[in-house]
């Protein structure tokens, strides 16, 4: 493959007739495309087309869609201000990004004698892509054999039992049953089965129509056969992330919230020297880029951007718990005329460990990395993918809708490696589905990379003797027996004050999480930890109470308590001046 043949390939494709495309190809197989297209869809399609060609290692896509301007932020002022703050800390390892990967890696490395700083630009961990997916711990039969995704997916899935045991997050290895209505569906399941066998997915097998109905008696209608995937599990993704981060912090990892990375300084031998953040400089020899959808921009900071991330939005709808999932497993039934887009990895219907039916996520290519809207098409998409398995489900039982963006690169595989150019800079990028399932294996892989790199510097990582892998299980009042509840309230009356009536969450649980290793400071941060506000009234009743508790416990004014993020204030001001 060379530059000319790439241009010919694009030029000969009727879809891109009106596009003006330029291209360059580096000796190490990185194609860079630029120019103009008419639609964002064309921009993404050209990226994918080039990435699929032999010998293309990855694609940097600088194409613009006409009429869509995403203005780059000018950070020069912020960088100058940060430099004036000077060196604020030194660390052996700086991890950029408090999503599932950053937190898993922080916890994996916390077992070593090393100063680790975990940076997160939001006011809480798990605020971006990690929180907004369907919580599947995929089994690994949907990943193409031979990809890094497939390998880490299957390995990571198997490691979840230990994580669950040590970290005490809600975890349900419910298994999955994929149902075929037609012979054509069955062919697709046979392909999934073959991929599953190739990927070494444990226990995967095709089952007869009769067995499928025995496994899931609620299944209705004509069935040809089914694919049973016992190892699929479900979690609340933010719960996993928070548990990892809390355990990492308990073991000495320093978490800097509200701290965006602005630049990365290199020394004269192209080695990472310092991370420039809005809180000042952190001197460090190792930087791990877990910046999610912004990982390409972080890589550009060390002048080694060899991939582009294109945000793929996934919208999710959550249903009222009163509608109980009719199945023991996650069941998928293809819609009569299901249109599968080969690149998109949208989900159908599932349920959460707490028992809410969940639809989605959708899969929609969007130009803006901050586009976390939910549109009718997101919900329609989710319905088209799985409503067939839930015939009685009414849209009016939806209590929440939200979305996240997948950090997809154009190879549609994970990028986990030490930079070829910059010593000490490790990319953990392109982590989209099944990133949550693969996270334990991703963390282990990065651990090995760091260990080898440190050994190569004659500075081997040594294990700590005092690492504690366990995180105590938080009190969940609603899941206790009446006798246990009674005893608990007598010990601590705060558990007897129910703050969130829909989910039956007590003030005691909120106080526990405020006193946990990572203090939540926003209403949504509390919600992700204890579920207050996650029920059918969506915080209508409990939000003022949560604001009150946060203000009291953090010693802040009510007006200083945000819903989420850094600027999402709830209350503008007091209605009367003091003294009136």
């Amino acid at each position: 493959m060379d530059r000319e043949s790439i241009l010919k390939l694009v030029g000969n494709d009727g879809r891109f007739a009106a596009c003006q495309v330029e291209c360059s190809l580096s000796p190490d197989g990185i194609a860079t495309v630029w120019g103009a297209a008419d639609t964002w869809r064309q921009v993404v399609d050209i990226g994918h087309l080039v990435a699929r060609q032999p010998d293309i290692v990855n694609v940097v896509n600088r194409l613009r869609a006409r009429g869509i301007e995403i203005a780059p932020q000018d950070k020069s002022g912020a960088i100058a201000a940060a430099r004036r703050l000077g060196v604020r800390a030194e660390a052996d390892i700086v991890i950029i990004g408090g999503g599932i990967c950053g937190c898993a890696i922080a916890r994996a490395l916390a077992r070593y004698q090393a100063r680790i700083i975990l940076l997160e630009k939001n006011s809480d961990i798990s605020e971006e892509t990690t929180k907004a997916n369907n919580g599947y711990i995929h089994a690994g039969h949907r990943a193409a054999p031979g990809t890094l995704k497939a390998k880490l997916n299957v390995e990571g899935n198997a490691m979840y039992d230990q994580w669950h045991e040590e970290l005490n997050f809600p975890f349900l290895r419910c298994g999955q049953l994929n149902v075929a209505r037609t012979e054509k569906d069955m062919r697709a399941l046979e392909k999934n089965h073959a991929d599953g066998i190739a990927n070494k997915v444990p226990g995967i097998r095709l089952v007869s129509a009769q067995e499928a109905k025995e496994l899931e008696p609620a299944l209705e209608g004509e069935i040809v056969g089914a694919l049973l995937v016992p190892s699929l599990a479900v979690v609340e993704p933010y719960s996993v992330c928070i548990a990892l981060a809390e355990n990492a912090v308990s073991n000495g990892v320093d978490l800097w919230l509200n701290c965006e990375v602005l630049a990365i300084d290199l020394d004269s031998s192209s080695r990472t020297e310092a991370v420039v953040t809005e809180k000042g400089l952190i001197k460090t020899g190792w930087v791990i880029n877990c910046a999610g959808i912004y990982a390409d921009e972080i890589a550009a900071m060390v002048d080694d951007q060899f991939f582009s991330l294109h945000p793929r939005r996934g919208g999710i709808a959550i249903f009222d718990k009163q509608v109980k999932p009719p199945y023991k497993r996650s069941v998928s039934v293809p819609a009569p005329a299901e249109q599968k887009d080969e690149e998109s990895k949208g989900g159908g219907f599932s349920f959460t460990p707490d028992g809410n039916i969940l639809a989605g996520p959708s899969a929609l290519e969007v130009p803006d990395k901050e586009d976390k809207r939910v549109e009718a098409q997101d919900i329609d998409y989710a319905y088209s993918r799985g409503a067939a398995a839930y015939p009685g489900l009414r849209r009016q039982d939806i209590i929440a809708m939200y979305s996240g963006v997948r950090a997809a690169d154009y190879k549609e595989d994970f990028i986990i490696a030490m930079s070829g150019k910059i010593d000490g800079f490790i990319n953990v990028a392109g982590i989209q589905s099944p990133g949550l399932a693969a996270a334990p294996a991703i963390a282990r892989m990065v651990e090995v990379i760091v260990k080898e790199s440190r050994a190569g510097q004659n500075n081997p990582l040594r294990l700590r003797t005092d690492f504690n892998p366990h995180r105590e299980k938080p009190v969940e009042f609603r899941h206790l027996s009446l006798e246990e509840q009674d005893r608990l309230i007598r010990r601590n009356p705060a558990y007897g004050r129910i703050v969130c009536r829909c989910e039956q969450i007590s003030e005691g649980e909120i106080l526990d999480t405020i006193r946990s290793p990572i203090t939540p400071t926003t209403v949504d941060a509390v919600k992700r930890r204890v579920r207050a506000g996650m029920g059918r009234c969506q915080g209508g009743f409990c939000q003022p109470k949560v604001v009150e508790i946060l203000a009291r416990e953090l010693g802040r004014e009510w007006t200083e308590i945000n819903l989420k993020g850094r600027h999402a204030y709830i209350l503008a001001r007091k209605s009367r001046e003091e003294g009136l």
Binding site: E375, R497, C502
Partner: protein, 418 residues
């Protein structure tokens, strides 16, 4: 675990529950308790600082708090056990109530009868499918009311209100009085959702425009609300893209309807009526589970507090009658059917026999219109006819079966134009 034995437990200390408890005492029930999750009795009335309550019952204009206090004083003087700060977790079909409180721990109430009066909650943006971003600054009207009236905080500077239900209208005026800006009220239906007097007193008197057949189609803003798109809607109530316009604002107040809080009722195995979305009740406001009654906005959203109190009293009389002879067999049951231009009816079940006194039937009109007649018929025979100058969906109407009438078949409620 603490255990308490009661003749009657009333769950919910709002207007329905308070009226029920008082009436139960008047009916001679001894051990009556009101279980309330908040720190005080009164329910949502406590945050209603506006007046207009009590015109029917007390013949004067009162604030919500004053109306509630009139009942609370009587309850406190009347030998009724009040269990505040107590949240019911579960009601069982055999009339056991499991509740939690910080000062008493878990309590199991063994009840001979129960009246459910948990009220309703507000619909959220998700239930009416407003799409777009998810910033802060999107609140339901009741939450805004709580922040402003109870906590003393303003949740924004410039508000757009979606929905012309009464709470939305009242909050429009409140926000103006508190020094905020209200850009307008938008209503998806072709007619207002609130009482006419509230349209006049809360919007027209303050020059706040009301836009009918218009809805909020998009929410904008990453962190805090920056604006909304509003659009006119077509016949199917879908936004017309071409009519969309952007309004900068930092607060969107949703007054888009109320839903009965039926979770405890469902947990007890009580049948829910698909039209009212509350427990199905008979003329005594008894639910499908013997000994468990329901009252107030839990049964159907009544809008008018006087009706809410009245249903509490009806339920209490029913409970007293039930306790006289819990095993007594009911006469043959008939349905109250919804006919022309009627969207719901309460109660849904009546019994064969001669009505000893006037029997009130509540109903809601589907389509608004002037000069209508409320007709209650039985087996083709008109039992009552009541003329209304104007009927509109926001206002719950009352028809009646006059005392002395024999009910021997299903009833039919209709609203006909004249």
């Amino acid at each position: 675990m603490r255990e308490v034995h009661l003749d009657l437990a009333v769950i919910g200390g709002g207007p329905a529950g308070l009226a029920a408890a008082l009436e139960a005492r008047r009916q001679g029930l001894e051990k009556v308790a009101v279980i309330e999750r908040d720190i005080e009795l009164g329910g949502i009335l406590q945050q209603c600082v506006h007046d207009g309550f009590g015109l029917h019952r007390f013949g004067r204009r009162m604030s919500g708090g004053q109306y509630a206090q009139a009942f609370i004083d009587e309850v406190e003087a009347g030998g009724i056990m009040t269990e505040c700060r107590t949240m019911v977790l579960r009601v069982s079909g055999d009339k056991k109530i499991y509740a939690v409180s910080s000062h008493k721990g878990m309590t199991l109430y063994h009840c001979r009868a129960i009246i459910l009066a948990m009220g309703c909650r507000e619909r959220t943006r998700n239930q009416i499918f407003i799409y777009g971003a998810r910033p802060s600054g999107v609140l339901t009207a009741g939450t805004v009311q709580r922040y402003i009236n109870m906590e003393g905080y303003l949740p924004g500077k410039k508000a757009v209100i979606l929905g012309s239900g009464d709470i939305g209208l009242i909050m429009a005026r409140r926000m103006i009085l508190e020094g905020m800006e209200v850009e307008g009220v938008y209503e998806v239906m072709a007619h207002p959702g609130g009482l006419t007097r509230n349209i006049v007193q809360c919007l027209e008197d303050y020059d706040i425009p009301l836009h009918l057949s218009t809805t909020v189609s998009q929410i904008h803003g990453q962190e805090r609300l920056e604006g909304v798109s509003v659009a006119r809607v077509d016949q199917q109530r879908r936004p017309v893209k071409e009519s969309e316009r952007y309004i900068p604002c930092d607060l969107l107040v949703l007054a888009v309807g109320l839903i009965p809080e039926t979770e405890l009722a469902r947990g007890a195995g009580i049948k829910i009526n698909p039209l009212s979305n509350g427990p199905e009740v008979d003329q005594d406001f008894a639910t499908s589970v013997p000994g468990i009654f329901a009252a107030g906005n839990l049964v159907a959203v009544f809008d008018l507090v006087d009706y809410v109190s009245a249903t509490g009293e009806t339920a209490a009389k029913g409970a007293a009658r039930y306790l006289e002879n819990p095993k007594a067999a009911h006469p043959r049951a008939y349905r109250v059917n919804t006919g022309e231009n009627v969207s719901l009816a309460v109660p849904q079940i009546v019994y064969e026999g001669q009505a000893a006194q006037d029997l009130s039937l509540f109903l809601r009109v589907k389509q608004p219109g002037p000069k209508a007649a409320l007709i209650c018929a039985c087996a083709g025979r008109e039992l009552s006819r009541k003329k209304e100058r104007f009927v509109a969906p926001p206002e719950m109407l009352a028809a009646k079966v006059p005392a002395g009438t024999f009910i021997g078949a299903d009833l039919l409620l209709e609203i006909k134009g004249e």
